[in-house]
Assembly symmetry: C2
Homo-oligomer: 279 residues x 2
DNA sequence: CTGGGGCCTGCCCCAAGGGGAGGGTCAAGG
DNA sequence: CCTTGACCCTCCCCTTGGGGCAGGCCCCAG
């Protein structure tokens, strides 16, 4: 019977008296005995183990509510959950690291010339497409699925840059706005009807000729989400310089009705970031 | 004059309306115009840059109060501060990563045998020592300084394990309790008086013979702070199994008057974690 | 003239405690 | 027996960065 007061238990567990009272209140770590008269809390030495485990989990910034659940698991299961949670933290950390380097580069002016805006004329094209409402992550999955389907179908190609697969963001794609997004594959005009019959799950339509502004983003752009706003900004600045704001230029993915196209090289991960405007 | 309402500015800056109102209130990002009658906020497009910068800094979890200061800097200085802050985050992340792996290993029982408790008899020794009240970080600095001084003094050695440099934590060393901590170097009994005269800044005393329990912690233990509590726990468990709790065994660094000794190999970073008890 | 969206302020809420007020309890020393 | 100091209690307000909701105003289109 070598129970101790909250002060000593605090020192031994390296948890503050404050925290111990909170954990008691939350039912996370109740004292072994509470004096009825004074309300004094008393703890047993073997409660230190639980206390120290809580302290360790808190040091990893795990919320108390989650800790309550974790404490019901056996050691092996707990270890698994902690490891799994940590993998998530690592991932987020890597994301943030990329964000920092992008931000620092941008502040140091190293990215200004990375996003040179160019203009190109795109002829009228017949395309096979899917158009769907999607969340940001689903947008890429939709693209992957679309590309995989195309490979199986072994379609005839249109020559040159105009033959590349591309995506059109018809509206903002974010947490609370879901596009739609359309993935397109140009096809030779002559084969339009045959392909429409062969691939009934895809739409066939005509993409009108237009002139578009674009920036080249290089390989793996899709993995560097922090670069997209910069490309967006570059195009936005260009549009303002060119005073195109009121001539039907669609400048922002976050504006509804916008047409932002991403031009892809189907074999690889290269992509452009293009803003279409119609003359 | 293409100003916009708070809703559109929110979508374009990817900051919530809520956040924008808060930033206005805090003076971080004031709207360019507030309608006197209705209180409606209006923003100019060129405020988007600042807004997006704030959003980027917030994504790095920089507090708003700090952001206010950062926004007054020019781009290069800001980049430097962001990079510096990030280095701190990286460091903390590494610390936490070690903590996780230690915790997971412990939960999986991989560390149980790492801390096998052994017992050894230590003869009476004459030692040169410094004893001082220190904070946790100062404790190691004190040790380094002590070891450096010893090297310069070229002292005669005592043979064997009993000749190693060691430290005694006479009391808890933490944020609000500061030891004291004593660093000791055994010397041959015959030279006691000569050395006392030669090194007047050091104390000379006799460390009585005793039997002590200890665990071996291997190299670089001082860099793995998360291992110390485990060693402590191993000794604590051992003491309870051996029913030594009431026979004068000092079991906890957080208990005042305790004697926890750390045994060092002076050339390298290896150290034991020893708990002395007197028979 | 009515509906629907956009916008306003003001109030309460979250996590995980920190700080302090005001007051009770307990052991030792004078 | 009294006091002193250490310890402990509950209760309330404070923090950060907003989220949610209520009640009400503004403004435009049909």
């Amino acid at each position: 019977m070598d129970e101790m007061g909250i002060g000593e238990f605090s020192r031994r567990s390296r948890l503050s008296v404050r925290a111990l009272r909170l954990y008691d209140e939350m039912g996370l770590l109740a004292p072994s005995r509470v004096e009825p008269g004074s309300g004094y809390r008393h703890y047993e030495p073997d409660q230190l183990e639980r206390a120290r485990l809580i302290a360790a989990l808190r040091r990893l910034e795990i919320p108390l509510a989650d800790i309550a659940g974790l404490l019901e698991l056996d050691a092996a299961a707990l270890a698994g959950r902690v490891a799994a949670r940590w993998r998530g933290v690592e991932e987020e950390h890597v994301t943030r690291r990329r964000l920092v380097s992008a931000l620092v580069d941008e502040l140091n002016g190293k990215r200004e010339d990375m996003y040179e805006v160019k203009v190109r004329d795109v002829p009228e094209r017949h395309v096979l497409s899917v158009k769907r409402h999607v969340t940001p992550t689903e947008a890429w999955d939709l693209g992957k699925e679309f590309l995989a389907g195309l490979r199986d179908a072994a379609l005839p190609r249109v020559e040159g840059e105009a033959g590349e697969v591309f995506a059109i963001y018809w509206g903002e794609v974010s947490e609370d706005s879901d596009g739609p997004v359309e993935w397109c594959r140009p096809i030779p005009e002559a084969e339009t009807e045959a392909l429409a019959a062969r691939l009934p799950e895809l739409t066939v339509r005509v993409e009108p000729a237009h002139r578009e502004a674009y920036v080249e983003m290089g390989p793996y752009a899709n993995q560097r989400a922090e670069d997209w706003p910069l490309a967006d900004q570059a195009l936005r600045d260009w549009a303002r310089r060119e005073r195109l704001g009121e001539r039907g230029l669609a400048i922002a993915p976050e504006e509804l009705g916008v047409r932002v196209t991403y031009a892809f090289t189907p074999g690889g991960p290269d992509c452009d970031f293009a803003v279409a405007y119609l003359e």
